[in-house]
Amino acid sequence: MTDVSEPLLEVDDLEKYFPVKSGIIKRTSDYVKAVDGVSFDIERGETLALIGESGSGKSTVARTIIGLTGATGGTVRFDGEDITNATDEQLARLRSRVQMVFQDPTSSLNPRRTIGKSLAVPLKARGVPKSDLRSRVVDLLERVELNDEYWNKYPHELSGGQKQRVNIARALAVEPELLLLDEPTSALDVSVQAKIIALLEDLQEEFGLTYLFITHDLSLVRNFADETAVMYLGEIQERGPTEEVFQRPRHPYSRALLSAIPVTTDEEEAYKPRHEPLRGEIPSPRDVPSGCRFHTRCPYATDACSADEPQFVAVDAGPSVRCHIYDEAYADAFDDVPEVAVAAVADETVASNTNEP
């Protein structure tokens, strides 16, 4: 282990462009910019939530980190080591330290293998002797609160929640430090989702795991993540401590996302930003809008938004926002600054003293 103060995972300006080929000789005519300049760090033992709609590139980020697709630009550093476009040898080492849990618990288990066999695979790869396999698998099952009866069961005999537990167990088999959780609960019912989240929290506490948690469900993130990054069309639009992002969402997109969640209590209703339904749908990443990528759907967009691409602006207490509204250089462009934003900023000056140092 290197210096403890160093973040476990550093992603810097990551880019993943998928070429679009056309014509008879399959010449590259265009690119799908799935991930376009994404940067974030995750500290050891912390959780970063990456949220956004489908097509925003959040899963591609995870797949690029673990080497399932190569990056076309930028760097990924894991524990100080540059693992961008890692070699096979690097990957072999890396995958015993970084593991991924996929969204669909059913299709990520081999239907012809018993749970015991599925869990034995990563153990064998690590060189666990055959005589120990069974007891190690039972340990793993226990860790995810399943008993040893599951050893001989096939995936179709299990419920969605149990399958997701098995997937988590399989990821834990190699004793990883970083888990990439790609929508681990979105295929599950709420009462089961709650149990999986509780399990993930327990495991994090017990083994000091670091999580990159990818989801489209914002309400899950509130209790679970230390930091939150909101992605839209391959770019991070707002990034900061979860508390900040939820209490005073600044980017119009974060606000729209928060206000769109159907909630179950009046308290939450009052807590949501003013309801501003977004116009239209997420544009194709092949044809990214000019300037600010969100301007085609933003209720506050001005001419400046379609002309210049906004840069990250750090708003007082920490979160960085990619929006001209918070950029002093563009202050004149928004004579009609949205009330919510004003309220949020005014609120901010009062509350900034109470923020944790």
Partner: protein, 370 residues
């Protein structure tokens, strides 16, 4: 009491003692076990519950979408004075085609990929509820001025569901449309023949939050403008709260609780409803329960008494023996739980907070039987 009549004063649809079972190789699965529900004219009613609780089976038996056998449907379903289960297929087809519409859950697979949106929707407008017109009549309708009129009506409806660029969409194939647009096309299709009852199965759940939000807003407007009676089916309690007037909570093929929406969310009574509400992650960051232990009942061999008893933190021996009655707890409110018997003092009835604490406690290793 039996909570079938009092719920809606002027019911458009009532379902009484609905029992649906399926014959299978392993035996007979009693899925729906005595469901009573009603929908008043102009009322928006939601059936909420988790996967496998029988929501869709209930909906399908109302619309006769279940093959019999293997399904066995018993009970009484009355639509505007007509008993549906005794109708012949042809008579039922007419009632269904002209007065009821269904919007399916999956906007991706509910449209025919080989026809343009315009063709599909115009066909619905011309032939909805009229499946066997005969060859001559078919060609007359298909190739006369009626076709153009129907096309106009479709265009108008597409505008009403705020479809962007409707003229172009008419000539597009479903694969050229985004999920949100397909969902709009399906809603337009469902409303073309001005149904009295709209059944919406998990509408918009397959879509992104912001698009889902747009669709719900649209649905609310349409319900108001067309004075629709709606039966919504959802697993998302937030959606139920946002859209509906009244909610039925289903568990294990039975309705365990029903109440007007505000009442249900402010004061949930059944331990299952409480557990479900406590398990929903909160935007405010309040502590969330760790879910309900156990899993939904095995329908081949369901628990003899209350079907929630094996998972209920308050279950007693009594619960395991006999099915509880539906106790009335105020107007349009009923709970199927022994704790709500008149004889039980109010202090013994659990609050959401108690249920939450029961479900948040983690006594060592729990079982992963979810």
């Amino acid at each position: 009491m039996k909570l079938d009549e009092p719920v809606a004063e002027n019911p458009l649809l009532t379902v009484e003692d609905l029992e649906v079972g399926f014959e299978s190789f392993d035996g007979f699965a009693e899925v729906i076990d005595g469901v009573n529900l009603s929908i008043g004219k102009g009322e928006v009613v939601t059936i909420a519950g988790e996967t496998g609780c029988g929501k869709s089976v209930t909906m399908k038996s109302i619309l006769r979408l279940l093959n019999q056998p293997p399904a066995r449907v018993n009970g009484e379903i009355t639509f505007d004075g007509t008993e549906l289960l005794s109708l012949s297929d042809r008579e039922f087809e007419r009632v269904k085609g002209q007065r009821m519409s269904l919007v399916f859950q999956d906007p991706m697979s509910s449209l025919n990929p080989t026809f343009t949106i315009g063709e599909q929707l115009t066909d619905t407008a011309q032939f909805g509820g009229d499946s066997d017109t005969g060859v001559v009549e078919f060609f007359r309708r298909r190739f006369s001025g009626e076709r153009d009129e129907a096309r106009e009506r479709v265009l108008e409806m597409l505008r009403e569901v705020q479809m962007p660029d409707p003229e172009n969409i008419m000539d597009s194939y479903p694969s050229q449309l985004s999920g949100g647009m397909r969902q709009r096309a399906l809603i337009a299709q469902a409303l073309l023949n001005e149904p009295d009852l709209l059944i919406a199965d998990e509408i918009g759940t397959a879509l992104d939050v912001t698009i889902h939000d747009q669709i719900l807003d649209l649905l609310k407007d349409l319900i108001e403008n067309h004075d629709l009676s709606v039966l919504m089916i959802t697993h998302n309690l937030g959606v139920a709260r946002q859209v509906s007037d009244r909610v039925y909570v289903m568990y294990g093929g039975r309705i365990v609780e029903t109440a007007p929406t505000d009442e249900l969310f402010e004061n949930p009574k059944h331990p299952y409803t409480q557990g479900l509400i406590a398990s929903i992650p909160r935007l405010t960051g309040d502590e969330m329960a760790t879910g309900i232990d156990g899993s939904i009942p095995e329908y081949l061999d369901p628990p003899p008494g209350c079907r929630f008893a094996p998972r209920c933190p308050y279950a007693t021996a009594e619960c395991e023996q006999a099915r509880p009655e539906m106790y009335e707890r105020g107007p349009q409110t009923g709970v199927e739980c022994v704790l709500y018997d008149e004889a039980v003092p109010a202090s013994e009835r659990p609050t959401v907070e108690e249920t939450r604490s029961h479900m948040t406690r983690r006594p060592g290793k729990q079982t992963g039987d979810d």
